[in-house]
Protein backbone atom coordinates (compact mmCIF):
# COMPACT_ATOMS: atom_id res chain seq x y z
CA UNK A 1 0.00 0.00 0.00
CA UNK A 2 2.79 2.34 0.95
CA UNK A 3 4.49 1.59 -2.30
CA UNK A 4 1.41 2.37 -4.24
CA UNK A 5 1.08 5.69 -2.49
CA UNK A 6 4.67 6.50 -3.20
CA UNK A 7 4.18 5.43 -6.76
CA UNK A 8 1.24 7.74 -7.16
CA UNK A 9 3.14 10.62 -5.69
CA UNK A 10 5.94 10.09 -8.16
CA UNK A 11 3.47 9.57 -10.97
CA UNK A 12 1.92 12.88 -10.20
CA UNK A 13 5.36 14.46 -10.31
CA UNK A 14 6.28 12.77 -13.55
CA UNK A 15 3.07 13.13 -15.48
CA UNK A 16 2.17 16.44 -13.96
CA UNK A 17 5.61 17.72 -14.82
CA UNK A 18 5.27 16.33 -18.32
CA UNK A 19 1.87 17.89 -18.80
CA UNK A 20 3.29 21.16 -17.55
CA UNK A 21 6.11 20.97 -20.02
CA UNK A 22 3.87 20.59 -22.99
CA UNK A 23 1.07 22.83 -21.92
CA UNK A 24 2.57 25.88 -20.30
CA UNK A 25 3.13 28.87 -22.46
CA UNK A 26 6.02 30.03 -20.39
CA UNK A 27 9.10 28.17 -21.40
CA UNK A 28 10.80 28.94 -18.18
CA UNK A 29 8.05 27.16 -16.36
CA UNK A 30 8.23 24.41 -18.84
CA UNK A 31 11.86 23.86 -17.98
CA UNK A 32 11.06 23.85 -14.30
CA UNK A 33 8.30 21.37 -14.88
CA UNK A 34 10.77 19.33 -16.80
CA UNK A 35 13.07 19.12 -13.84
CA UNK A 36 10.14 18.20 -11.68
CA UNK A 37 9.34 15.40 -14.02
CA UNK A 38 12.94 14.28 -14.01
CA UNK A 39 13.04 14.25 -10.25
CA UNK A 40 9.98 12.09 -10.14
CA UNK A 41 11.65 9.76 -12.55
CA UNK A 42 14.57 9.47 -10.16
CA UNK A 43 12.09 8.39 -7.54
CA UNK A 44 10.81 5.76 -9.94
CA UNK A 45 14.28 4.48 -10.41
CA UNK A 46 14.81 4.14 -6.71
CA UNK A 47 11.63 2.14 -6.51
CA UNK A 48 12.83 -0.01 -9.34
CA UNK A 49 16.02 -1.01 -7.54
CA UNK A 50 18.10 1.33 -9.66
CA UNK A 51 19.56 3.74 -7.13
CA UNK A 52 22.58 4.46 -9.18
CA UNK A 53 20.46 5.34 -12.14
CA UNK A 54 18.46 7.62 -9.94
CA UNK A 55 21.59 9.49 -8.99
CA UNK A 56 22.62 9.64 -12.60
CA UNK A 57 19.18 10.89 -13.50
CA UNK A 58 19.46 13.71 -11.04
CA UNK A 59 22.98 14.62 -11.98
CA UNK A 60 22.51 14.51 -15.71
CA UNK A 61 18.93 15.57 -16.21
CA UNK A 62 18.31 17.92 -13.35
CA UNK A 63 21.88 19.02 -12.85
CA UNK A 64 22.89 19.34 -16.45
CA UNK A 65 20.22 19.11 -19.08
CA UNK A 66 17.52 21.06 -17.32
CA UNK A 67 20.07 23.64 -16.33
CA UNK A 68 21.32 23.84 -19.87
CA UNK A 69 17.83 24.30 -21.13
CA UNK A 70 17.20 27.00 -18.62
CA UNK A 71 20.39 28.60 -19.67
CA UNK A 72 19.42 28.50 -23.30
CA UNK A 73 16.05 29.96 -22.47
CA UNK A 74 17.64 32.78 -20.56
CA UNK A 75 20.15 33.47 -23.30
CA UNK A 76 17.41 33.74 -25.86
CA UNK A 77 14.92 35.41 -23.58
CA UNK A 78 14.11 38.12 -26.05
CA UNK A 79 11.96 35.70 -27.97
CA UNK A 80 10.57 34.01 -24.91
CA UNK A 81 7.53 36.15 -24.82
CA UNK A 82 4.52 34.46 -23.35
CA UNK A 83 1.94 36.47 -25.22
CA UNK A 84 1.50 34.60 -28.43
CA UNK A 85 0.53 30.95 -28.53
CA UNK A 86 3.38 28.52 -28.33
CA UNK A 87 1.81 25.97 -30.56
CA UNK A 88 2.15 25.66 -34.28
CA UNK A 89 -0.27 24.99 -37.06
CA UNK A 90 -0.32 21.26 -36.71
CA UNK A 91 -1.32 21.42 -33.11
CA UNK A 92 -4.79 20.08 -33.76
CA UNK A 93 -3.42 17.16 -35.69
CA UNK A 94 -0.99 16.38 -32.92
CA UNK A 95 -3.84 16.55 -30.48
CA UNK A 96 -5.55 13.84 -32.44
CA UNK A 97 -2.56 11.69 -33.20
CA UNK A 98 -0.92 11.55 -29.80
CA UNK A 99 -3.96 10.40 -27.84
CA UNK A 100 -4.60 7.86 -30.53
CA UNK A 101 -1.06 6.65 -30.25
CA UNK A 102 -1.38 6.59 -26.52
CA UNK A 103 -4.49 4.50 -26.69
CA UNK A 104 -2.97 2.10 -29.14
CA UNK A 105 0.10 1.70 -27.03
CA UNK A 106 -1.89 1.20 -23.89
CA UNK A 107 -3.87 -1.39 -25.72
CA UNK A 108 -0.61 -3.03 -26.64
CA UNK A 109 0.63 -2.88 -23.08
CA UNK A 110 -2.47 -4.44 -21.75
CA UNK A 111 -2.84 -7.01 -24.43
CA UNK A 112 0.65 -8.44 -24.26
CA UNK A 113 1.18 -11.09 -21.65
CA UNK A 114 4.41 -9.94 -20.06
CA UNK A 115 6.66 -12.73 -18.82
CA UNK A 116 7.13 -11.26 -15.40
CA UNK A 117 9.74 -12.97 -13.27
CA UNK A 118 9.33 -13.22 -9.55
CA UNK A 119 12.99 -13.61 -8.75
CA UNK A 120 14.53 -11.35 -6.17
CA UNK A 121 16.19 -8.27 -7.60
CA UNK A 122 19.94 -8.18 -7.96
CA UNK A 123 21.76 -6.86 -4.92
CA UNK A 124 25.07 -5.96 -6.48
CA UNK A 125 23.69 -3.64 -9.12
CA UNK A 126 26.68 -1.38 -9.06
CA UNK A 127 29.31 -4.05 -9.47
CA UNK A 128 27.28 -5.77 -12.13
CA UNK A 129 26.94 -2.56 -14.07
CA UNK A 130 30.64 -1.89 -13.76
CA UNK A 131 31.43 -5.37 -14.99
CA UNK A 132 29.04 -4.93 -17.90
CA UNK A 133 30.46 -1.57 -18.88
CA UNK A 134 34.02 -2.81 -18.85
CA UNK A 135 33.09 -6.25 -20.10
CA UNK A 136 30.35 -7.11 -22.51
CA UNK A 137 29.49 -3.52 -23.33
CA UNK A 138 33.01 -2.22 -23.45
CA UNK A 139 32.86 -1.08 -27.04
CA UNK A 140 29.53 0.75 -26.76
CA UNK A 141 30.87 2.28 -23.60
CA UNK A 142 33.96 3.53 -25.33
CA UNK A 143 31.98 4.69 -28.32
CA UNK A 144 29.79 6.55 -25.91
CA UNK A 145 32.77 8.29 -24.42
CA UNK A 146 33.91 9.30 -27.88
CA UNK A 147 30.43 10.51 -28.66
CA UNK A 148 30.39 12.64 -25.56
CA UNK A 149 33.76 14.09 -26.42
CA UNK A 150 32.63 14.88 -29.92
CA UNK A 151 29.44 16.42 -28.61
CA UNK A 152 31.47 18.49 -26.20
CA UNK A 153 33.79 19.80 -28.87
CA UNK A 154 30.97 20.20 -31.36
CA UNK A 155 28.83 22.12 -28.93
CA UNK A 156 31.68 24.45 -28.13
CA UNK A 157 32.38 25.11 -31.78
CA UNK A 158 28.73 25.61 -32.62
CA UNK A 159 27.97 27.89 -29.76
CA UNK A 160 31.09 29.97 -30.02
CA UNK A 161 30.57 33.48 -31.12
CA UNK A 162 31.42 33.55 -34.79
CA UNK A 163 32.96 36.98 -34.70
CA UNK A 164 35.10 36.06 -31.77
CA UNK A 165 36.09 32.81 -33.38
CA UNK A 166 37.49 34.72 -36.34
CA UNK A 167 39.89 36.70 -34.31
Amino acid sequence: MTEQIVFFIFTIMVLGGGLGVVSTKNLYYAALFLSLSFSGMAGYFIMLNAGFLAAVQIIVYVGAIAILILFAIMLSRKVMTTNEPQTNKQNWLALIVTPLLYLTLIFLVVKVNWPVSSAAPALDVLTQMGAQFLGGYLIPFEVMSVLLLVALVGAIILARDVEKGRE
Partner: protein
Protein backbone atom coordinates in the same frame (compact mmCIF):
# COMPACT_ATOMS: atom_id res chain seq x y z
CA UNK B 1 7.20 -4.33 -5.10
CA UNK B 2 4.88 -6.83 -6.59
CA UNK B 3 2.13 -4.58 -5.36
CA UNK B 4 2.62 -2.52 -8.44
CA UNK B 5 2.09 -4.47 -11.64
CA UNK B 6 4.34 -3.92 -14.58
CA UNK B 7 1.56 -2.49 -16.66
CA UNK B 8 1.37 0.50 -14.36
CA UNK B 9 4.89 1.45 -15.15
CA UNK B 10 4.34 0.86 -18.80
CA UNK B 11 1.23 2.94 -18.80
CA UNK B 12 2.99 5.80 -17.11
CA UNK B 13 5.85 5.51 -19.59
CA UNK B 14 3.41 5.45 -22.48
CA UNK B 15 1.66 8.48 -21.16
CA UNK B 16 4.89 10.32 -20.73
CA UNK B 17 5.97 9.32 -24.18
CA UNK B 18 2.78 10.59 -25.67
CA UNK B 19 3.11 13.81 -23.80
CA UNK B 20 6.62 14.21 -25.06
CA UNK B 21 5.52 13.43 -28.57
CA UNK B 22 2.79 15.94 -28.35
CA UNK B 23 5.29 18.49 -27.15
CA UNK B 24 7.65 17.71 -29.95
CA UNK B 25 4.88 17.85 -32.52
CA UNK B 26 3.02 20.88 -31.52
CA UNK B 27 5.44 23.34 -29.99
CA UNK B 28 6.82 26.18 -31.97
CA UNK B 29 9.88 26.85 -29.92
CA UNK B 30 12.93 24.73 -30.61
CA UNK B 31 13.76 24.47 -26.95
CA UNK B 32 10.31 23.27 -26.18
CA UNK B 33 10.64 20.64 -28.85
CA UNK B 34 13.86 19.56 -27.28
CA UNK B 35 12.13 19.24 -23.97
CA UNK B 36 9.51 17.06 -25.57
CA UNK B 37 12.23 14.86 -26.92
CA UNK B 38 13.81 14.57 -23.53
CA UNK B 39 10.52 13.47 -22.11
CA UNK B 40 10.26 10.78 -24.73
CA UNK B 41 13.73 9.56 -23.95
CA UNK B 42 12.87 9.41 -20.30
CA UNK B 43 9.79 7.44 -21.01
CA UNK B 44 11.97 4.95 -22.76
CA UNK B 45 14.22 4.85 -19.74
CA UNK B 46 11.34 4.04 -17.49
CA UNK B 47 10.43 1.22 -19.77
CA UNK B 48 13.94 -0.12 -19.84
CA UNK B 49 14.34 -0.09 -16.11
CA UNK B 50 10.92 -1.46 -15.47
CA UNK B 51 11.44 -4.32 -17.86
CA UNK B 52 14.76 -4.96 -16.25
CA UNK B 53 13.25 -5.04 -12.81
CA UNK B 54 10.26 -7.19 -13.71
CA UNK B 55 11.42 -9.50 -16.40
CA UNK B 56 15.08 -10.06 -15.71
CA UNK B 57 15.63 -8.88 -12.18
CA UNK B 58 18.85 -10.82 -11.75
CA UNK B 59 20.87 -8.79 -14.14
CA UNK B 60 21.18 -5.14 -14.93
CA UNK B 61 21.26 -4.94 -18.70
CA UNK B 62 18.27 -2.65 -18.79
CA UNK B 63 19.97 -0.21 -16.50
CA UNK B 64 23.09 -0.33 -18.59
CA UNK B 65 21.03 0.61 -21.58
CA UNK B 66 19.34 3.32 -19.64
CA UNK B 67 22.75 4.77 -18.87
CA UNK B 68 23.56 4.73 -22.53
CA UNK B 69 20.32 6.48 -23.31
CA UNK B 70 21.08 9.10 -20.73
CA UNK B 71 24.52 9.66 -22.16
CA UNK B 72 23.11 10.04 -25.63
CA UNK B 73 20.47 12.39 -24.33
CA UNK B 74 23.14 14.47 -22.69
CA UNK B 75 25.17 14.66 -25.88
CA UNK B 76 22.07 15.42 -27.87
CA UNK B 77 20.97 18.14 -25.54
CA UNK B 78 24.37 19.77 -25.57
CA UNK B 79 24.61 19.81 -29.33
CA UNK B 80 21.00 20.74 -29.83
CA UNK B 81 21.20 23.67 -27.47
CA UNK B 82 24.40 24.79 -29.09
CA UNK B 83 22.65 24.70 -32.42
CA UNK B 84 19.73 26.61 -31.01
CA UNK B 85 22.00 29.26 -29.57
CA UNK B 86 23.82 29.55 -32.85
CA UNK B 87 20.57 29.78 -34.75
CA UNK B 88 19.36 32.40 -32.36
CA UNK B 89 22.51 34.40 -32.95
CA UNK B 90 22.24 34.07 -36.68
CA UNK B 91 18.53 34.48 -37.18
CA UNK B 92 17.31 36.06 -34.02
CA UNK B 93 14.66 33.43 -33.54
CA UNK B 94 14.22 29.99 -32.11
CA UNK B 95 10.91 29.44 -33.76
CA UNK B 96 11.27 26.36 -35.90
CA UNK B 97 8.63 27.54 -38.30
CA UNK B 98 11.02 30.25 -39.32
CA UNK B 99 13.98 27.89 -39.55
CA UNK B 100 13.07 26.28 -42.83
CA UNK B 101 15.96 26.98 -45.15
CA UNK B 102 16.20 23.24 -45.86
CA UNK B 103 12.86 23.41 -47.60
CA UNK B 104 12.66 22.26 -51.25
Amino acid sequence: MQNIPLTWWLSVATALFSLGLYGALSRKNAIAILMGLELMLNAVNINLVAFNRYITPQNVTGQVFAVFVIAIAAAEAAVALAIIIAAYRQRGTVNVDDLDSMKF
